[in-house]
Amino acid sequence: MSLELVGITVLWIFLYGYLIVASIDFGAGFFSYYSVITMKKHIIHKIIERYLSPVWEVTNVFLVFFYIGMVGFFPETARYYGTALLVPGSVAIILLAIRGAYYAFSNYGSKDNKWYMLLYGATGLLIPATLSTVLTISEGGIIVEQNGMILLDWSKLLGSPYTWSVILLSLVSVLYISSMFLSFYAYRAKDYLAFGILRGYALFWSGPTILASLLVFFAINQQNPEHFRNMLNLGWMFGASFLCFLVAVYLLWKKIKLGLSFILVLLQFAFAFFGYGKAHLPYILFPYISIHENFTNQAMGTALVIAFIAGLVILIPSLFLLMRLFLFDADYVQGKFIKKGD
């Protein structure tokens, strides 16, 4: 495997990691707020808080890691995306900042402040919508280079059906992934009341998710036919994704093997995400940036890959410890340590 392929694979894995952990986080924020306005806070809020509190900071790192890695491995992306995305990028930063700050304010400071929860919950849905427009831009035709100036064509971005179908998919899949995970977590906590509500959310959002996925699939054909043809060649991956979806929802419906059910959700998105990504190659920004022509110099590429491996040696055991203490520890999940501590 060439160094540039290692680079982009690493980045894509981290983006996938962000997609999953951030979806859980964003959806949880929305459900948290929704439970307040529907007077169900006392039932599901504790479960959500118990999971999110120790991990929210980690979620953020996945995104930071992705874009720092992107600029590191493919420095040309800084010039194109950086120049063109000033406005949408800044809006995304502002939303992320509001969300992160008000999450902390509402969870550690003023626990019953509805405004803080609203800010935290609402931005959680706006962020995936904002970030997902980058997927449209990467298909080409929206960032144009004229006389050495790099410009973003807003009318093309907002006029494309592909943009809107991606935004729709990001919104519903956030709620789907999140409620699937939280159902599993509530079940493990033996909190059957919360489980009942969250299972309802999960089943409800599964339909729109798969419909939106189909919509995106066909909208790519309009936006970038070459990419669509590449995706058809990897058709089995999308088939596998659909199969995982069916089994995952079936298991939740039957209330059996919820751990397996969530693993299948992970696989559902992994197949679709990596199938999409592989078909996108070699372009990071069609047709300006390709992984082969715009890879960083050899010395930096090698250094980054070495740093990456060294980093993983430290990170994987640490992440494992985090999960053991807060995800797979039955006593913690059931809330046995909560009162004694802070």
Binding site: E57, G72, G100, Y103, A307
Partner: protein, 447 residues
């Protein structure tokens, strides 16, 4: 004001950085202080120190959140506002940027674990051990990101020809001449500032409740730390002066309004500069600049006249430098006096003038950090990469930077105000005395 993307990009970067640096500084320093308190608590079997660690940690989480979001903002803004610079930096200095996120990742994982496992382990020392990776992670990320800034001051490890870079050596770029002094000064001053901020909180509480044993212990602990770190910061600051004299003489000369290269140069505090570069009303300390630059009162110090006019930093940095140094000296003296008083007045109340100065020391330390950074950054103007790329050539060409500046202003004001409100409410609602009682500490073992 006419639209100028470079000017607005600089203003927006300054704004984000100035806001972030407060939280970044306490984010690096407070974990050390929390660990220090927890360790004292375990070693002496003193529940007061353990409660101190807990309460600090509780407030700390909120500042961490703001640090994380503003840090994310500055990271993304680098590419959005300085795309041409980041293209070069991406080639030459991506390694430490990348490693910084690893360190941040590591810290994020263990901070989550640390905060939620206070009562989960049979031996208290196990929980204490979890603070070590948190300290390592936060200090390592400060280390890596500071090497990036050091690189911008003394770039090396690459060649730049007509916009294309060749001959890149990542480790040479990372360990450039500015790295040792910069990293040491940043870390030491962050520990020092955090100690003063926590001391100021204890001081304010003692002004209200003179007899509180809990706050006396807090003051003792923070002041000892503040003394140690003020001294190291001052010593490293001296080394930084020598570094500047050798590698960035124009930055030191601008700070000291030193134009003609000469020997036996005095150091000037304050004053105003006339049109023909004469200093009025300044306080002159003979030989001091020569000593600062080369440890020798007789040594020669390069003047600003050796730098072409178009490449000189703005002369206003003199005031930033002077104020930073004055604050540093004042804080060092204050911490000496406080530690002396702590041991002298074992059971007697501290005088209120001392407590008032201590309350002042927290904000002063933060102002010192801000001034130091402004001096370091404005002092390398007009360069973004000293000797290679001017700031004007690194900025975005995008329109709408002015609008973004306005939006971020509103954002930081909102976050800042809510933060103050939440922190105040948090500590008002949970009174120390009540918590001491509810945990069965008050009346328990005290020294």
């Amino acid at each position: 004001m006419t639209y100028d993307p470079v000017l607005y990009s600089r203003m927006l970067t300054e704004l984000t950085f100035a806001f972030h640096i407060i939280f970044a500084t306490v984010g690096v320093g407070i974990p050390i202080m929390i660990a220090f308190a927890e360790w004292s608590g375990i070693k002496r079997n003193d529940p007061y120190y353990l409660l101190l660690a807990r309460r600090w940690a509780r407030g700390f989480v909120i500042t961490v959140a703001v640090g994380v979001v503003t840090g994310t903002a500055i990271g993304l803004q680098l590419s959005l506002l300085w795309p041409s610079f980041m293209r070069v930096a991406g080639q030459a200095i991506a390694l430490p940027l990348f490693m910084e996120t690893f360190a941040f990742f590591f810290e994020a994982i263990f901070l989550g674990i640390y905060l939620y496992t206070w009562d989960r382990f049979r031996k208290p020392i196990t929980h204490f051990l979890l603070s070590i990776p948190v300290m390592l992670g936060s200090s390592a990320s400060a280390f890596f990101i500071t090497t990036v800034n050091a690189f911008m001051n003394t770039p090396q490890g690459f060649k730049l020809n007509n916009g294309s870079i060749t001959d890149i050596k990542p480790l040479i770029a990372m360990f450039n001449p500015a790295t040792p002094t910069k990293v040491a000064h940043v870390l030491s001053s962050a520990y020092m500032t955090s100690a003063f901020v926590l001391a100021a909180i204890a001081g304010a509480a003692l002004l209200k409740k003179r007899e509180s044993l809990y706050h006396r212990k807090a003051l003792k602990l923070t002041m000892i730390a503040a003394l140690i770190f003020s001294i190291t910061t001052a010593l490293i600051g001296d080394l930084s002066g020598k570094f500047l004299a050798k590698y960035q003489p124009e930055k030191l000369a601008a700070a000291e309004w030193h134009f003609e290269t000469a020997r036996q140069v005095p150091l000037v505090l304050g004053g105003i500069l006339t049109e023909d570069h004469k200093i009025k009303y300044g306080l002159k300390i003979p030989f001091a600049l020569s000593i600062l630059a080369h440890d020798n009162p007789n040594s020669e110090v390069k003047g600003l006249n050796e730098t072409p006019v178009a490449e000189r930093p703005p002369l206003i940095v003199h005031y930033y430098f002077d104020s930073m140094v004055t604050i540093g000296i004042f804080l060092t003296v204050l911490s000496m006096a406080s530690v002396w008083m702590v041991y002298k007045l074992k059971s007697v109340q501290y005088p209120s003038w001392l407590l008032k100065l201590i309350v002042l020391s927290g904000p002063l330390a933060i102002i010192g950090i801000e001034l130091g950074w402004i001096y370091a950054e404005v002092g390398r103007q007009p360069w973004i990469l000293r000797g290679y790329m001017k700031t004007v050539h690194g900025a975005t060409t995008s329109t709408h930077v002015d609008l973004m500046l306005l939006l971020f202003c509103i954002l930081y004001v909102a976050i800042g105000l809510t933060l103050v409100k939440v922190l105040r409410k948090m500590f008002k609602n949970s009174d120390v005395q009540e918590e001491l009682k509810s945990r069965g500490i008050e009346g328990g073992p005290a020294q």
